[in-house]
């Protein structure tokens, strides 16, 4: 962990300590300090000026929200794992695995709540295995999830026989992906629900404190009585759970369980978290940051598409934006 300048109490800080938001959190979440929100506003402004009618249309804006909803929820789960000092590369594969399972169950006529529960349990269980293996045999999460991502995708292909599994259960589709409550898309509601849940978990709960302890200084955490192995395992279970829910959202949106979706989504989730200020050494942890990180990525994609930019070029632009954002973020520190 990078050590900022330290001074004796008598030598006044050369850099004054950042303001704390709320009582007693050391996650400096002063919204005005979150550069990513600024970046989002700037990007929206740029595209609005370039193509005002199309970009600022209700249709486009809702589209962006829907596109980023799934990535956001996965991102929240990833943020939790990163706060614990780990990483979960398997989420992009948990999505098709759970999506396919849910679709198959619904196709069999299994009631919606059971299908949903089954998918969530599967994702959580998968996360448990990730965590357990990593902790028990002391293997880097990167390596464990590198392997398990293939396992999950393989299972998705096996369960589905490599084919799309269609969902025609209208109620499910409405609740999970296609419906609206008034003008608000259901996907947005789910995103906000998970935003609140993950925010409360990390910032307000004792578990969140322990997660941040493990990521902040695992040695000190262990010596303070934190059950490090348990905390890490639960973090992976949460990531799996969030990914499973994201799978349901995606299945609802696409009206099917597709074994081919989610490729690269783990990287999108990590990017969203990093853009939002969460790093690989347990620092950061702003869920709103992750949300805006996802929004920035989604907005750039949408904006460039409207501008008619070649999708291959879009990829290059996306990459450049990410590197710039990280440079900006670290130079601020």
């Amino acid at each position: 962990m990078k050590e900022p300048q330290q001074h004796d109490a008598k030598t006044e800080h050369l850099v004054p300590p950042p303001k704390r938001a709320g009582a007693g959190t050391s996650i400096p979440v002063r919204l005005s300090q979150l550069g990513i929100i600024l970046a989002f506003i700037v990007i929206v402004a740029i595209f609005s000026i370039l193509k005002p009618q199309v970009f600022l249309s209700m249709e486009n804006l809702t589209n962006i929200v829907k596109q980023t909803a799934v990535a956001s929820v996965v991102g929240f789960g990833m943020t939790i794992v990163m706060l614990a000092g780990g990483i979960d590369l398997s989420v992009g594969s948990i999505i098709p695995m759970c999506g396919v399972v849910a679709a198959l169950l619904l196709a069999q006529g299994i009631p919606i709540p059971i299908a949903i529960l089954a998918a969530l349990l599967l994702g959580t269980l998968f996360g448990f295995i990730n965590g357990f293996v990593s902790v028990r045999w002391k293997i880097q999460p990167f390596l464990v999830t590198l392997g398990s991502m293939s396992v999950a995708r393989g299972l998705a292909l096996i369960f589905s026989g490599g084919k799309t599994v269609y969902i025609d259960n209208k109620l499910f589709l409405n609740i999970m992906g296609r419906g609206n409550i008034g003008p608000i898309p259901v996907l947005l509601i789910w995103t906000l629900v998970f935003l609140v849940i993950s925010w409360a978990l990390i910032n307000r709960s004792t578990y969140g404190r322990r997660v941040r302890a493990v990521g902040g200084n695992e040695t000190a955490a262990r010596q303070s009585g934190v059950r490090v192995g348990r905390v890490k395992t639960i973090a992976f279970m949460l990531s799996g759970f969030f990914a499973a829910f994201a799978a349901l959202m995606m299945a609802g949106r696409l009206s099917s369980g597709l074994p081919s979706v989610g490729v690269g989504m783990e990287l999108d989730a990590i990017t969203a978290a990093v853009l939002g200020g969460t790093g690989f050494a347990g620092e950061g942890g702003s869920m709103i940051g992750t949300l805006f990180g996802a929004l920035v990525l989604g907005t750039i994609t949408a904006g460039l598409t409207i501008l008619g930019v070649d999708p291959y070029v879009q990829l290059v632009v996306k990459g450049i934006v990410i590197v710039l954002a990280v440079i900006l973020a670290s130079s601020r520190q």
Binding site: A9, K10, H13, G24, S26, Y207, T219, E283
Partner: protein, 505 residues
């Protein structure tokens, strides 16, 4: 020692936002002199040295080197003038060998850029021999003991033709024996007319090794005296500006029942057959040289490491401590050696650090009650006199002594019956040390059983009711307060271990 100083710093002043770190400080050193620099944390010692080594620019004053006025713009310039600083962290690359470190960026190479191996090894070997250091130049630095790394750092400094070497707390991680070796090297440096500026809190050592001592306080020069002409008490008085009566603040405490009993504690290859008792109200000192495995013993009791055999009894009851949270629940607390890497989460606030082992006390149904947390933290800030602008201050910005108090506060919050302190005053200035001693006495009075692991003999002798001496994982002796002397402790600390020899292990 020559008559003209090699270095003169005159009227040095330096201001940081909000504080005058140095005010008109004079400091000079002669070739071949060992000049100690002391002062409480915040007195200005490190600022002065940073100006000397080119890290900070001075606001006012002169630096005269060999009679010429000089101005350093960066540390590399200072190094060219022969000024070298050896920090507590030793700037050595862990993954390179000793020789590679010494000759880093100055390797003898041919026109193709390939290193001339033979010359490389010869230069490295010679540099080490010059100081009488018996380290194999091909060893990886990460495999060296702390003391050996320090010597390599000195060799490296010298290889830059340093004429002035600044040593910052050189002995804090060394055993008694290794300190003797270091002093021999310093004598060697002296004979070569190299000047040594020696920064340390260990006043006993300073009177042994230094010719003069300069005392700073609050950025000002208090005085520069010949060490032969002062006592440590007088130096302390100069440092804190007042008489420090009864430095060790030991009080009469009624010692009561056995609160912790350890029997035949064993960790294969590390801790052997350790047994002892600790009573409520007692301060039990654990003395020994580095490698005595006192920390390892504490870690076994606290559940950080797994014991292979042996029993632990708390208040007479056999307990099975497998993890730190078992220990905490049973009322055992462990204040670790290194507060920065083991005791605190530096980026966290004082309040957050304080409550971590007992979050249940400040939370309801799994959610943290921030107000309660701040209140608890404030309680300790007051009772331990922790100097901080608020409980929401990140602990990285606190001084060493105050950081240590936060660690202690954290453990006090767990309501321990047994408090293990591992080198609690390491790297802390005199004033703060005394406060911690007073705190220990107070806690003993309240009925806690305290284990004090320390490498500072005066501290062990000053604070302990009983002393257990260890060597290489074995208990080699036990002394009562009245009969304990430095010599007796050292005798036990270096005693040959009969068991080891007998079984030929």
């Amino acid at each position: 020692m020559s008559k003209t100083p090699i270095l003169q710093m005159k009227g040095i002043s330096k201001r940081f936002p909000g504080v005058q770190a140095l005010e008109q400080v004079d400091f000079d050193v002669y070739p071949g002199e060992v000049h100690a620099l002391v002062g409480e944390n915040g007195a200005g010692k490190s600022t002065l040295m940073k100006i000397l080594s080119g890290i900070y620019p001075k606001d006012a004053g002169l630096i005269i080197l060999n009679g010429d006025e000089v101005e350093f713009n960066d540390p590399i310039e200072a190094q060219k003038y022969g000024i070298s600083v050896i920090y507590q962290e030793f700037d050595l690359a862990q993954n390179l060998t000793v020789a590679e470190n010494i000759l880093l960026c100055r390797e003898p190479a041919n026109s193709l850029g390939l290193i001339k191996r033979r010359e490389f090894n010869r230069i490295a070997r010679e540099s080490l021999d010059k100081l009488g250091i018996a380290v194999n130049p091909n060893t990886l630095v990460s495999h060296l003991k702390v003391a050996e790394r320090q010597m390599v750092a000195i060799v490296k400094a010298l290889s830059f033709n340093a004429k002035i070497i600044v040593m910052d707390e050189p002995t804090s991680a060394l055993s008694e024996h290794e300190i003797e070796l270091l002093f021999a090297i310093i004598e060697n440096l002296r004979s070569r007319d190299v000047a040594v500026i020696y920064i340390s809190h260990r006043l006993q050592e300073i009177t042994k090794i230094a010719d003069r001592v300069t005392v700073l306080r609050d950025g000002r020069l208090v005085g520069c005296v010949q060490t032969a002409e002062v006592t440590t008490d007088q130096i302390v008085a100069m440092m804190v500006g007042r008489e420090l009566k009864d430095f060790f603040r030991k009080e009469e405490v009624q010692i009561r029942d056995v609160v912790l009993e350890v029997e035949h504690l064993e960790q294969e290859g590390v801790v052997h057959d350790v047994s002892f008792q600790l009573r409520a109200g007692e301060i039990l000192g654990f003395a020994g040289l580095v490698g005595a495995r006192r920390t390892e013993t504490a870690r076994l009791i606290f559940g950080l490491d797994q014991r292979d055999s042996g029993d632990i009894f708390l208040n007479g009851k056999l307990v099975d401590i497998k993890t730190p949270d078992d220990a905490i629940a049973l009322g055992v607390a462990y204040v670790p050696e290194d507060r920065k890497t083991q005791g605190l989460i530096l980026s966290w606030t004082l309040a957050e650090n304080t409550t971590l082992p007992r979050l249940s006390e400040v939370s309801r149904r799994g959610f943290i009650d921030f107000r309660a947390e701040a209140a608890v933290a404030q309680k300790y800030v007051t009772s331990l006199d922790i100097k901080t602008p608020s409980v929401q201050q990140q602990v990285m910005y606190l001084s060493g002594g105050n950081q240590q108090k936060v660690v202690i506060a954290k453990w006090l919050m767990t309501n321990p019956k047994v408090l293990i302190l591992d080198e609690p005053t390491r790297g802390i200035d005199v004033g703060a040390k005394s406060e911690i001693y007073a705190l220990m006495s107070q806690l003993a009075k309240q009925g806690l059983g305290i284990i004090l692991i320390s490498s500072e003999l005066p501290e062990i002798l000053g604070m302990s009711d009983r002393i257990i001496v260890m060597r290489e994982g074995y208990v080699t002796g036990e002394l009562l307060r009245d009969e304990a002397t430095e010599e007796k402790v050292m005798l036990y600390a270096t005693k040959e271990i009969a068991t080891k020899l007998a079984t030929g292990v």
